[in-house]
């Protein structure tokens, strides 16, 4: 390598004047060199595979949703964009089928909003605790435990939402009349499947994501800023809330975006706990269907390949993919800029 640097191949006078040994180092073919190049090429191919995956995802979604390969017609070649975005009903199975994406978007939004209300503050507060208050020993116990929470499969969260959260937490609070037999209290109807339970479990699920990402950005805030705060007579609370959090704000927002994009893409928990009935509602106690749940619903059934219902799957998945992609991209860019500021 150093030989390459000192005597570039474009420098024949030097090479010839130093005799054949040095030039041999540069030009001579060896099996060793071939092997090195071969290995580098193979590793480059591994890295390129990730780009291929992205291209494959885009190709699959676009070819079924936007531009069909000639004999086949894609979803948007049969259903107009105006129906997709202006219709308010999503009923692909009915005989005059309706393909308005809004009920699915609404369900997804409801889940993401509830999950955000629960997961984002909790995650941020625990990140502040871990980075500012906890002793190294406490952190060494709490962090791996929170990572375990992130490792719980989503199907388990779904079961937890449907069989534990709804009957033992939401129902007793909203329907004390039924559960405790007190009939003079409020009695709010709750569906067996409801957006609230789905949102709650997705919120629990994103806590570790928010926590570990925010903790990283909080810890990256330079010590000097904290010390300056103390020198001006701030209490620890002032330093946390008025110095550290504002300095890390862009990173925290990036973490929030990433967590919300996870909530949008979350599938099994919402399919199991929030139901499979597309409804245009903002009532968190009714049954809804998210975009991801619709995909699961169609794919676990026996929908014949080539029907419009089958193609609608790809259109929904395309919307889902683009939504999460935009959120992830913004978040990546914000995080990259944040790293530049403090490093």
């Amino acid at each position: 390598m150093t030989a390459d640097d000192r005597q570039s191949p474009n420098d024949p006078p030097l090479a010839s004047s130093h005799g054949s040994a040095a030039s041999d180092l540069v030009y001579r073919f060896t099996w060793q060199r071939l092997r090195e190049n071969f290995i580098q090429f193979t590793l480059f191919m591994c890295a390129l595979l990730s780009v291929l995956t992205t291209l494959a995802i885009i190709f699959v979604l676009v070819s079924e949703a936007v531009f069909g390969i000639p004999p086949e017609r894609a979803f948007f070649q049969e259903i107009s964009l105006s129906q997709f975005f202006l219709e308010t009903r999503w009923a692909p199975q009915y005989s005059p089928a309706f393909f308005g994406i809004w009920p699915l978007v609404c369900g997804t939004f409801l889940i993401a909003a509830i999950a955000g209300l629960i997961g984002l503050p909790t995650g941020l507060l625990s990140a502040i605790y871990l980075s500012e208050y906890a002793s190294p020993r406490v952190r060494s116990i709490a962090k791996p435990t929170l990572e375990l929470l992130a490792g719980v499969p989503t199907v388990v969260y779904g079961y937890f939402g449907l069989r534990i959260v709804t009957p033992y937490f939401i129902r007793p609070m909203l329907r004390p009349a039924d559960v405790f037999g007190i009939d003079w209290l409020w009695n709010i109807p709750v569906d067996g499947f409801n957006a609230l339970s789905g949102g709650i479990v997705v919120g629990l699920m994103i806590i570790p994501t928010v926590c570990s990402l925010s903790e990283d950005v909080l810890r990256a805030v330079p010590r000097t800023l904290r010390e300056a705060g103390y020198a001006l007579g701030s209490t620890k609370f002032d330093v946390c809330v008025r110095v550290v959090v504002p300095s890390a704000l862009s990173g925290i927002i990036a973490a929030f975006l990433l967590a919300i994009s996870r909530a949008v893409g979350e599938t099994m928990a919402v399919t199991i706990a929030a139901g499979q009935k597309p409804t245009l509602t903002l009532n968190p106690l009714s049954q809804i269907e998210t975009m991801t749940a619709y995909v699961v619903n169609v794919m676990s059934g026996d929908t014949p390949v080539g029907t419009i219902e089958y193609k609608s799957l790809y259109a929904v998945a395309l919307v889902l993919f683009l939504t999460t992609l935009v959120m992830n991209l913004i978040s990546q860019m914000v995080l990259a800029r944040y790293r530049e500021v403090y490093q």
């Binding site: 992205t54 995802i57 388990v156 099994m268």
Partner: protein, 360 residues
Amino acid sequence: MSETPTPRRPLSPLPEKPPIPTTSPTTFVGGGLVEESFDLALARRHRNGRIFEWVCWLATWGSVLILGVLIAAMAWQAFGWLTPKFLVSMPKRNPAEAGILPGIVGTFWLILLTAILSVPLGVGAAIYLEEYAKPTLLTRFIQLNIANLAGVPSIVYGILGFTAFVRMFGLARSEYLISFGIGTFQLTLPFGRTVISGALTLALLSLPVVIIASQEALRSVPPSLRHASLALGATKWQTIRYQIIPSALPGMMTGVILAMSRAIGETAPLVAIGAATYITFTPGRIGSLSEVVTRPDKLAQVPFDSFTTIPMQIYGWINEAKPDFQHVAAAAILVLLAILLISNGLAIYIRQHFQKKIRW
């Protein structure tokens, strides 16, 4: 929150009640009033601080508590249903006799194949990006692309897997029979809803996670090690093979185990590719452990056979109408959580253990 005078860690480097400077001009102008309000304000700030710390503490340990509640709730639901027989029986229509054996075996084969496919590719990509790649536009693009792939919803990978592996875009359609002398091995070309389709899908899904974790492990190897090896005349690959990979191995293993335990719990992509929820045989129809050695045809058939996994079985049981199946689902969840707890614990142990041991 009442202010109980319990001994606690000082909240700030400032003393609780700083002495009021008597030489301050305010004492002459405003008399006792200014001192009083300063004291009060400081006390309020400290009280707010204490409440805030308490709230932060609650948020952290509350989240940890949720994990406990989750496991306790599952144990309560599964009480009496998680028996040794449950682990070794096939699923049945009768909840009392249902078992999880095909799920356990299916998960094993699926994750084995996923690891074989994704670990070399992921580690290779990470080595290229950390050791070879120059900071060109292409490298930055690949890096950004990997970060985004890690955020793509798993159901989208499921759709990709269904279209590309299960259906193969509706193109190929052929069957091959290969005779082993003691049996015949059958390969169909659109892979269909088989173990290999699932493994390819999960491999694509876990590839970005493996790459990112391995990159972090490689980055933590100090440059002096590379310089020393190159200075002694080792080639680039020799340096990587004999110095860098061994040093980064614990970190890589932690990342790989975490990625694989995420893959164990994945359900959505498997629902999308149409893995079975109810199946009464194990992949390859291998009946006992000895058949792995004595029947190579059955072993070869494993990747091309239908399968189910533990999460798929759980999903199937949750959708069952009979209420008793909910307890069966909870029992299966406990089995799944136990497997994940062991693998995650192993990953965390490797990280903690080697972090202490290796000192540069």
